[in-house]
């Protein structure tokens, strides 16, 4: 039975007159990966800072690991680990010294600190680099060391703020593998990312943050289903068949060169059967059928695309003012 690792309701944060978080509700189950997805400046880091006790919200309640962040910050801190957007390793210390420094700050006994550091270096494949200054590490190694430093305290909940931004594809895959292993061990992961692929790969649940509001939340599949853009693509043997099909299927778009027809629809079995029945009734032969569901990129653009209604109000206001001035 999974409890709630992170529960936030009505989170608000503004800097001067700029609203950064505009009423955020979150519920992250223990032992799962939750991804907060959003473009730059959406408020992802601010959210992490509030959830990790670094920043006091203007309004709202946050409970992390069963403790209120504003009144029991200490208990929250004891249960969480945070790996920030930049690999915050100490460049002038070696990998091992970085880990031992964390152990010292957690006031672990010397021997235990050494044991944990050794185990983490081994686990993250940093044994060879352990005695080298972190300044000489590659981007991927720095991120691994950064995460290893977070793990010294054996946190129940780990916050990863854009853990793979700027990494090459191979290092990114390694990081994903590490994150999956952490969850397999029972850790809860709260992840922010601007990569849809990453959220899709890792997260059980995804929330899309845009300009301080959650514009959607659900599993990757749920999000994809809720977005227009899923369609059925039919290919025909010749022009005649295409003509007939296009006449029967309203709202479809044809491509004469490819002899294909694009029919909007969610690809559900029932609607698919209805569609084929209508074609059968006209004796149209379909050469090829494929169902296209939108990927998260479509979701992202559809949800955060800034040509939406809210934006269109602004030019109107502007026009009104101009009219008034005349």
């Amino acid at each position: 039975m999974n409890g709630s690792a992170i529960a936030a309701s009505g989170l608000r944060k503004a800097y001067k007159d700029k609203t950064v978080l505009d009423g955020i509700d979150l519920d992250v189950r223990t032992g799962t990966i939750f991804a907060l997805l959003g473009p730059n400046g959406a408020g992802k880091t601010t959210t992490v800072n509030v959830l990790t006790t670094l920043l006091a919200p203007d309004a709202g309640k946050v409970v992390v690991a069963g403790h209120d962040v504003s009144t029991e910050a200490r208990a929250v801190r004891a249960a969480i680990g945070v790996t920030g957007q930049f690999a915050s390793v100490d460049n002038l210390l070696t990998g091992e010294e970085n880990l031992l420094m964390m152990a010292d700050l957690l006031r672990l006994p010397r021997a235990e600190g050494r044991r944990i550091a050794g185990r983490l270096l081994d686990r993250f494949d940093l044994v060879e680099a352990a005695g080298k200054l972190a300044a000489s590490y590659s981007g991927g190694m720095r991120r691994k060391l950064d995460l290893a430093m977070t793990l010294v305290g054996n946190p129940q909940i780990i916050f990863l703020d854009e853990p793979t931004t700027g990494l090459d594809p191979r290092s990114r895959r390694t990081m994903w593998q590490i994150i999956r292993e952490l969850v397999a061990d029972g850790t809860t992961i709260f992840l922010t990312t601007q990569y849809l692929e990453e959220a899709d790969e890792l997260a059980g649940r995804i929330a899309v943050l845009d300009r301080g509001r959650l514009v959607a939340e659900g599993t990757a599949d749920e999000l994809k289903r809720g977005v227009p853009g899923s369609h059925i693509r039919l290919r025909f043997a010749d022009r005649h068949e295409l003509d007939v099909a296009a006449r029967v299927l309203h709202g479809s778009t044809r491509d004469d060169e490819e002899l294909t027809l694009r029919v909007p629809g969610d690809g559900g079995v029932r609607s698919l059967r209805a569609l084929l029945d209508r074609l059968d009734a006209q004796s149209v032969e379909v050469e090829e059928l494929s169902v296209h569901t939108p990927d998260l990129d479509d979701v992202f653009l559809a949800l955060t695309g800034h040509g939406n209604l809210n934006d269109q109000e602004n030019p109107d206001d502007h026009e009104n003012k101009e009219v008034g001035a005349r």
């Binding site: 930049f86 915050s88 100490d90 002038l92 010292d104 200054l133």
Partner: protein, 253 residues
């Protein structure tokens, strides 16, 4: 772990870290030493005989150079503190419940210690160049005291500037006024011989009473009034730096 010993343990962990930094990056020390020694050569050998200050010029200039060494030694601290802030290192510590005092104190204390080492070098070279102080033992202690107070004041200001600057480069630039101020004090020439404007500025800026106090102590002719002004400046600047640092630390997540 008790309330008192936890911050102490954290401070010593952070001190060890800063000590390693200095040992691995000895340029930070060299930086503090080279410029004052160069200025000493310039003043004592090149220009020193050109103006008379009533005493041997090496004796006159050394107190100013000691203070200058403090000012030149702080650049690396501003940069280090700023990169701790901008790379998220301080946030990492805050989430680990490491006390604010531990982080800031460690930076201040290691800056003061590093500065004292640099000053020892500079004073050593000054001896070679003819510096002959006539201070008694208590006066020496007094001189060390005023140097430590000044180093504390400047370190707190530097840590605060480092915390509030947007980038390490910006933090570096904030130190420039501190490097220039000693030249506009009585470090190398008595204030009452300066032109109008410069003289008033030199008389009322903090480095003049500090340097005069140090000079008085080292030459065996201390003046209580100047010393009180100097100590008041050090205390005031330390407090201002401390409060500024504390506010920046809390504000920037």
């Amino acid at each position: 772990m008790s309330v008192i010993s936890a911050p102490l343990a954290d401070s010593s962990t952070m001190m060890r870290r800063n000590f390693r930094h200095t040992m691995r990056n000895p340029l930070t020390l060299l930086n503090a030493i080279i410029m004052p020694i160069f200025v000493m050569f310039l003043m004592v050998y090149v220009l020193g005989d050109a103006f008379s200050v009533g005493v041997d010029y090496a004796d006159y200039a050394t107190p100013g150079l000691i203070i200058m060494t403090i000012c030149y030694g702080i650049g690396p601290t501003a940069t280090a503190v700023n990169s701790d802030m901008t790379t998220g290192f301080i946030n990492r510590l805050r989430v680990m419940d490491v006390s604010r005092a531990a982080v800031l104190n460690a930076h201040v204390i290691s800056t003061v210690l590093r500065t004292l080492v640099a000053i020892a070098f500079v004073v050593g070279v000054a001896f070679l160049m003819g510096f002959r102080p006539s201070a008694s033992f208590p006066q020496w202690l007094g001189a060390i005291g005023i140097v430590v107070l000044t180093a504390l004041a400047i370190s707190w200001l530097t840590v605060a500037a480092g915390l509030s600057a947007k980038s390490p480069e910006g933090a570096g630039i904030l130190g420039v006024p501190l490097m220039l101020l000693p030249f506009l004090s009585s470090a190398f020439a008595p204030a009452d011989r300066m032109g109008p404007g410069a003289r008033q500025f030199a008389e009322y800026q903090p480095f003049t009473p500090i340097i005069e106090t140090l000079r008085g102590l080292l030459n065996g002719t201390p003046s209580t009034g100047t010393a009180i002004t100097a100590i008041a400046w050090c205390a005031g600047l330390s407090l201002a730096g401390y409060l500024w640092a504390r506010a920046s630390f809390t504000k920037r997540a």
